[in-house]
Amino acid sequence: MPTDQSITRAYAPYTPSWQRFHEFAAPLASSSGAGSAAMASAASQLNPYARQYSHVYSARLAALRERCLANAKQSARDEGIISGEDDDECAAERIIEVKEGVWSILVGTIVKETDPTRRPPVQSKYNDATDAQSFLFPSSDGENNGSQMKQIESLRSYLFDSEKGDVIHLEDESGRVELAPEDETLDAMSVDVDGSTFKKSNALDPNNLATGVVAAVVGKVCATKGIMKVHSIHFAGVPLSDATSQDAMLIEEEEEEEPVLLLVSGLGCGSDSSTDGETGASLALRREMLLEYLTDPSLSNGASVCRVIIAGGGVSPSNQSAGDIGRPGGPNKENSKKNYNNVAKSKSSKPSDAANHMAFSLRELDLYISELLSSGIPVDYIPGWHDPTNANWPQRPLHSCLLPLSCTFVDLFSRCTNPYEGTLGVARSRNGAKNAESSMKVLGSDGLSVADLRRFLSKSDSTKDNDAEKNDGDDAIVSSCMDALHQTLKYGHMAPTGPDSLPTFPSSESDPFVLSSRPDVYFVGNCDRFETRLVNVNGEEIDESGDDKVGTCMTRLVCVPSFALTGEVVLVKLKSLECEVVSFNDANL
């Protein structure tokens, strides 16, 4: 590639903070090699996997409890259910201490309990990784012949259905209490047209809940059956980040080029097939186009890109045909996961085509990233589900031996954990000359957490999401990626379904996925299409065309589409948080 050295690339100082995840991904204890018997027993003491998952939930509840409680109290006071003085009284410290028949606030972890008969049984076969897979992603039955309908059907059967005897519990260390709607008019409420929006979003709607979510519940326990009649539900939300970034948002109009963050996922290196089913453009060609876009300033404004984040899916999932990859929809994504695992499985016994394929894909990826790096753009690589790293969240960074070329760019290339977190400094000039710097917190993942959560959140009909019309039919029952992502922000937790259905590391002291401060950019990769949303402090969506965004502290939510699927990347302007999608396919050039 001819590179003109004279171009000036936009720059943003970068402070990584994803390392906090790394402690969980590669625990220290296991670094002791296989030693003597004494050593081994010492290691087993420290082996984090000797723990159970209960600590994860405890840590999560501890971290989110106060925030949920505060929200619930506020709301209850606003509604006049409780008065200021007695709100401490009605907030029970533990679930079993709840008093019967009076207004009370309980905080705990939501458990959506589905009928065990509708739950796939535990496979008794050992050494078969697919059993865990098939459970985690039930839509993946039937390898390639699983039709969309079948997948939707299996999803539907997995969804919560109180008529089939499913119940929602709230749990803490002391026990559980069953939750039920305040009255029988839940269905009627969702039909109500006006005035019900507030109520509806807070009432016990199973479509807003998933196992593992921490919530505060306002309601009364009825004495005879011991069931909590829920008046409203409150989540933790995300607290404000440090004050500095707040006033920095008061941006003056400046013509200076704004540094831009480029988000891409699903590069799909190593894909055998040359053409994409939908557009006819070769995936390899698209990648070249992206490379050119970034490195050749004569073509476009690529020079404003100050950093590239690759959010998972760098290598194509095994020897699947591109036609399969090209199929839209979340379930499809999961379909391919299984195949990867088949690769993993067969590899463990004997090197096979799949192993060769992986090696080939990695070489291609390595080459591609190193080319990016050689043009001076910093690249952050977040591993994804298909990438060669471990399975439990947080996932480890790719090993250096897998990307030997890229790793030579020590300063520019960082192999990150999944999820990812970092802070980008944005230079601002205020009042003319004075230079100030504010930081933008970027948080994101490869998208598995949201994909998993989506399976538990079915879309209710009356969402204001316009996409519902576009997307009627097949996957309409599943909430969109954006809804799920937005929901995680409200929960105050990145991956609430772990460890229940998302494979997660059994951390004990703290839960790394708790959102303890508000990110400025929050993204997930490997989505089926591009979506974005701007969200204010209260976690509510902002109309981007309006003027009200000025002066508020906002979060940019981005669903990064799979590049292999759509040929699209996302640009986020770091000052204004404006967001645009760039598409690479034949039509554009």
Partner: protein, 1149 residues
Amino acid sequence: MMSTSRKRTLDDDLYDESPKHLRGGGGGGYGDDGDDLFNDDDLFEDNLVDHDGPPEPADDVEEDIAFGDITDAHRSRWTRPAVPSSVWKTSENDLNLQWLDIDMIGGSPLAANPNKNKKVLGASSGTVPIIRLYGVNETGNSVAVFIHGFTAYGYFALPRGYEVDGSDGNLGKIRSILEENLRAKLGSQFDKGDNTSNGETPMACLGVTCLSNKQSIMGYDPSHTKFLKVYVAMPGMIPKLKTIMEEGITLPGITNANGQEVRESMIFQPYECNVPYVMRYMIDRDVTGASWLSLPKGTYHLRKNESEKGTHCQIEADICFNEIIPRKPEGEWAKVAPLRILSFDIECQGRKGYFPEAEHDPVIQIANSLSVYGESKGPIVQNVFTLGGCLPIVGAQVISSNTEEDMLLKWRTFLHASDADIFTGYNVQNFDIPYLLDRAAALWKKKDSKLRIFTQWGRVKNCQTRKRETMFQSSAYGRRTNTETTIEGRVIFDMLPYMQRNHKLSSYSLNSVCAEFLSQQKEDVHHSIISDLQNGSDADRHRLAVYCLKDAILPQRLMDKLSVLINYVEMARVTGVPVSFLISRGQQIKVFSMILRKCRDVNLLVPTLKKSGSGGDEGYEGATVLDPIKSYYEIPIATLDFASLYPSIMQAYNLCYSTMLSPQEAAKTDPSMFKRSENGHNFVHSNVKKGILPIILEELLAARKRAKKDMKNAPTEFEKAVQNGRQLALKVSANSVYGFTGAGVGQLPCVPIASSVTSYGRFLLEKTKSYVEEHYTQAHGYEHNAQVVYGDTDSVMVKFGTKTVADTFPLAIEAAKKCSDLFPNPIELEFEKVYYPYLLMNKKRYAGLMWTQIEKYDYMDTKGLETVRRDNCALVREVIQTSLDKIIIERNVPGAIEYVKSQIADLLQNKMDISRLVITKSLNKGAEYALGLGGKAEDYKVKQAHVELAARMRKRDPGSAPQMGDRVPYVIITAAKGAANFEKAEDPIYVLENNIPIDSKWYLTNQLSNPLTRIFEPIIDNVEKSLLQGDHTRKIFIPTPTAKKGSLMMFAHKKATCMGCKASIGVDEGNLCKYCLPKEAEIYLGKLAVLKEAELRYAHLWSEAQRIHGTLHTDIMCTGDGCACQFYRRKKVQADIRLAQEQVDRFGR
């Protein structure tokens, strides 16, 4: 107070007929194969020598102690509904009740008959027996009825040809002779208690009558037709009287066949002297078990004052025995009263290493669940009594106490207030109840005299609950010790023995039983943890309480789900015995009751036979089994069944005690009047004299047909359950009649009948076979020659040669009909099902896919296979089950073979999940010796693998080692050649942690080999060679054990090796040799895949276990015996993941 005070004075006196004897029986126990004894003779004799129980406490005991934290709100939920005022108007309303329990006491006779128009019946002085009957009326009030005036009696036959002078004078003489003899026999015992107020000398023998309208049941032409009926004062005297009559006695007025008076001593054969007194009453008054009774208005008296009452029942009535109207369980009276059922469970705090002993270990919690029959909303009360504080439980009452004594007394208060009719639970009979009693006794001895009243659980005031050990031996169940407890007026219905008797399961733990029938799991809290929880905080005790409560609720759910109660009620109604008899006794009493009832109708009497010492049963030939033609049939095999074969044989050939002819008699009798059975016994035709047994059977089967019809027409599910219970009870009863005649040590064994039945059975089976094979031939125009491939007892399997199920049905239906026509009524051959395909392995060992309709198969039916046996490891069960599924359902024999081969390969290559190889056995009696806990050496003769392992584990770590009563899981590991099995057993956890190699060869040869050979023998040749040996067994893998003290690995020196090629490398050379270094990425990926798989498995298993146990926030403590939460796999993945992580981490970052 009349009856109780009277009773107390009698307590020192040996005539007291305590209710215990009623239920106790000698060896009455479980057993449906007829080999159990119920020695009613012994039972009565017992009464006169056995002085039972602790003395009654003094009167000064306050009834209920008030406890601050038992509030009125509590009580109001506990107590029964109030008695409606209409009940008290005895002259206007009938009192109706469904009774459940019955017993008898000695008391003084009634002063006046409550029915003013009649006079008092029975003896008017001395001690008279009073029957107490406990039940519930329609409004759910508890009722006790005192039934007066029924006198015990026995029959004694005059030898053939002798007559007796039946004049009053002569009978009076006989009476006084008997009186004298009885008194002599009873000795001083009788006089001692003789201090009745009126100064009259009470009589022992109350009267004698002479009967000539009765006959003995034995024989067509019975030898006994003249009887003396002798009434005695108390039922306990009957055995004495019987001895007197059997030993020989001289009675006046007896004349021989020639009309000469006999002067010398004569032997009188006793008749119906072994009938328990209460049953005597029930039979004579036509009262059946658990049925409704009506006390007509004006005939009864209600005891209104508390001081008058002898029981805790809400209503107490006195009545003369002949006034009560028994209701037939039909129409309106088929209903079931709102019975109260209390299910409970206790937890005790055992010491480490010992099974809890009442002497030392406190009871810490008692959980209860009280429900009312017919109320669908679930239990009306759930509560837990805890020792020490406990956080509240949503939906249940938590009642905490500071001392154990307090807790026990509070529980007793609850017991009284709730006034349950039925106690249930899981193993309450042999654990919870005796433990509570023993514990109270232990505490009482130490200090707290208040606890003397704790054990008053029954309905009778001031009456202690008593227990006694009974030994029970049966060929089917082995020797077991049972504890029998008497709680007056309440029935103990333990679900554990019920499950053991009625369902064949691999495990009877409450957990696995509930998983099976309720698809519900409970968390298994190991008892070592219980102690820690109790010593912990209120929250810990809360957790324990929740667990304990679940243990109390589950047996009740099980009871509901299996309609246990309704089935037993129906069985009691059909057979006429009290419900408690059904629970604590065998099958015989039911048949005996039916025979006695029937005989009474037709004026026959049943002799009381002397027990033939050694059982005396000369064996007879049993059922026949046609030689199976072993094969795998891929064409339909039709099964023709004789419906209720043995009952219908008895009916068809009129086999009965009363129709039997001795060979001598037969020689003299007209041959057209009788038929000689297949093995040479003679029975008269039914038109000559209809037998009792055929009549009973006819009625039972007719009733069953009606019940089945009613079941079909039942409007509600509940009604359906009632009728289903009824028809099942009828079926079981009909089938037990044959067993009754064949039981060697039974009440009325009759080998000629039993052996005739089986010989007819054999005859019918052979005849069917020959007919089918002769008739369904190509010569007769059928497409194929039919062949009987197998036959057993009452069914034949016919291969008609047809290729489809649809073709087979018409042939089979026709064959069944034609055969039925050959046989006398009501023997009927029925066509029920077709097996297709059918795998016939051996006698009583087969599997097949069952079709009862042409369109779709029903399920796979297997007989005699290892799928449920528990002493095999799960691998065997799974392999057998899966192979059969593949062979029978999928009809994929190659697939089955491939599957078996892959399993064997996995086993040999150490890929098998260890949980599938675990064998569990429990530490039972005898193991104490091996564990060094005392016990006797002779109890432990043969070294058992699991006991030896437990002893070894105890040496390793006494804290975590299995304790008495625990189930010990183990696997077989490789050991020195020739090591005995018990040396090779090892704790699975230990094996996982130390990577010890499993002896896969042992599993192959000792576990898999035999069952596999059995299954595949009919299908492939040389199973041994092709399945158990061969290519797939060549590749084996034996892991290197982790170094541990004392093992050979201690001496091995560990060297750093290359992770790629295992070549040894220097310590500082990293993880790969120079040749493998270029392949680093590839090798890394390989190790990573292992880690990834292990991580996923970890995530899956542990989150699934959380779901199963319904907890996210607390650690799972389940140790997994019989639980679906995959304990060993969870343990294994923890070890796996550590190893995989170490491997990956060696590569650095």
